[in-house]
Symmetry: C2
Subunit: 228 residues, 2 copies
DNA sequence: AGGAGTTTGTGAACGTGAGAACAAAACCGG
DNA sequence: CCGGTTTTGTTCTCACGTTCACAAACTCCT
């Protein structure tokens, strides 16, 4: 190998970053099932990707496989977790404890995957008497104090769309630099702040688009290819 | 090769399809605000994309703008809605009425965007006495009857991961060909069935990856183990 | 009516990602 | 110790997506 100045953060393509958590989950399942080793083909099957793509993805992390054998499940799992940054716990605040906020607060998948909900915030005083999943709902104005105190870097927005931009602005001002937004709005944030959105309606509309194309021809068998 | 009839269905790139709902939402907001016309630059601002990209996206639908003027908000909005297929209502079933399922059932954004929840299904008999958002929770075994009766093409899975594949199989067998999956599992489905996933943990992990790169002060990764 | 000023639609350049294919590396059985 | 087998890591090519840049098409004002 060319002498790298140590395995320093080579930057990983965005498409690869988005798949690493999927591999991580599959490896966790394999580990729980007592599987010690797996090939790229097996892991590709489990995650629904092409095995060549999987190998290329993993190669961005380093050479953690053994030719002729495959990958050590526990070792690869650790390496991916380390690259993603989920070997440590990330404190998270959730703002907007309505229907969706309640579901998120109760979601056990957070904790088990390296995220810890340190605070639930809501602007509505009547919400603030609640305790959800063992965490007090606190006034939204406590945001800055909590971010400071707990070193929160990731915020989740589950408020109505009308409030989302304001909440985001406050989050950014408080020092949060990564936001997961469930409100159906485009958020404007300064450079250096990452926003990812989860939008139900958009997903359904994408499905509807494809569904619409499928419907007219029930037995749609495109015989476009002129057989050579 | 075959010069296609070049009727309406030119196929739209997947990346464009994913953005059309965002444009649609922005146009709806503009329409509600009484805006009659807007330029690609304005719409691009509102949706957070490059204006050239937006124009190219819209050009796949046809030439609905006017040079020197911009786009007619109401007309463009209708054209996008028609292309996506949300001028009609799509019946949807939700399976798994737990924390998340409740939130989804109560979500008003469905109805207002062309989707109608026609049934809530759960395998747990104790859930089946509930009425959520005016809809009865019914036994999962009613799936086939409901799909048939209401012509359901889109199903939402909000069950635990362990049940998701079974639910998906039943949905496919019942005739559903588009699935939105909230369970953290990779679903295997036959050709012709579309699956989209919404995965909280993956989104957070992607944020964590970038966050980790932003703040080297947390750099716990010391040095690699020397190879060999 | 004509020129000035806008804004669209698109061709071309560029960048990123996917997949096929294969040499290199490791193991295994004799 | 060696040839055969397996599977990785990587290279190459093609497809897709993004952005720039600009002619064409339209409005408005004089
Ligand atoms: N419910 C769903 O399944 C679902 C699905 C997709 C998207 N969404 C979106 O998620 C968001 C929340 O949905 P929901 O159903 O939970 O709504 P909700 O009305 O039940 O809850 C919103 C909560 O946010 C709080 N809030 C309002 N303004 C606030 C502010 N400025 N600061 C802090 N808190 C504030 C409210 O007090 C309320 O408790 C909405 O934007 C909705 O469009 C919801
Ligand atoms: N709660 C969240 O915020 C959240 C976030 C992200 C992902 N998820 C995922 O969404 C899914 C649901 O989460 P939840 O918190 O609502 O879980 P939950 O346990 O509260 O609800 C699951 C529901 O599914 C029902 N169910 C189980 N097996 C079924 C089957 N075979 N057929 C029909 N119904 C069945 C159960 O009776 C229960 O009502 C899980 O896979 C979870 O990982 C949840």
């Amino acid at each position: 190998m060319t002498s790298r100045p140590s395995a320093e953060p080579r930057d990983i393509p965005e498409a690869t970053v988005a798949r690493l958590p999927v591999y991580l989950r599959a490896l966790t399942t394999l580990a729980e099932d007592g599987v010690a080793t797996c090939s790229s083909e097996e892991l590709a099957q489990a995650t629904g990707v092409n095995s060549a793509k999987l190998r290329k993805d993993l190669s961005y992390l380093g050479s953690y496989g053994t030719r002729g054998v495959g990958y050590d499940v526990a070792y690869l799992r650790y390496q991916i977790a380390r690259q993603i940054g989920v070997t440590q716990d990330w404190p998270v605040v959730i703002v907007g404890i309505g229907n969706l906020g309640h579901a998120l607060a109760n979601y056990s998948g957070f904790r088990s995957r390296g995220f810890r909900v340190v605070a639930l915030l809501d602007a509505d005083p009547s919400r603030q008497e609640e305790v959800v999943a063992g965490v007090d709902v606190r006034p939204f104005d406590d945001l800055e104090a909590i971010v400071e105190e707990c070193g929160v870097a990731i915020g989740v927005i589950a408020t109505p769309a009308a409030a989302a931009q304001d909440v985001a602005d406050r989050m950014v001002a408080a020092g949060i630099r990564s936001i997961l937004n469930f409100a159906p709005t485009v958020l404007a944030v300064p450079e250096g702040v990452d926003v990812r959105k989860v939008d139900l309606s958009i997903e359904l509309q994408i499905l509807a688009y494809h569904e619409q194309r499928k419907s007219p021809h029930l037995a749609l068998t495109p015989i476009e290819e002129p057989a050579i």
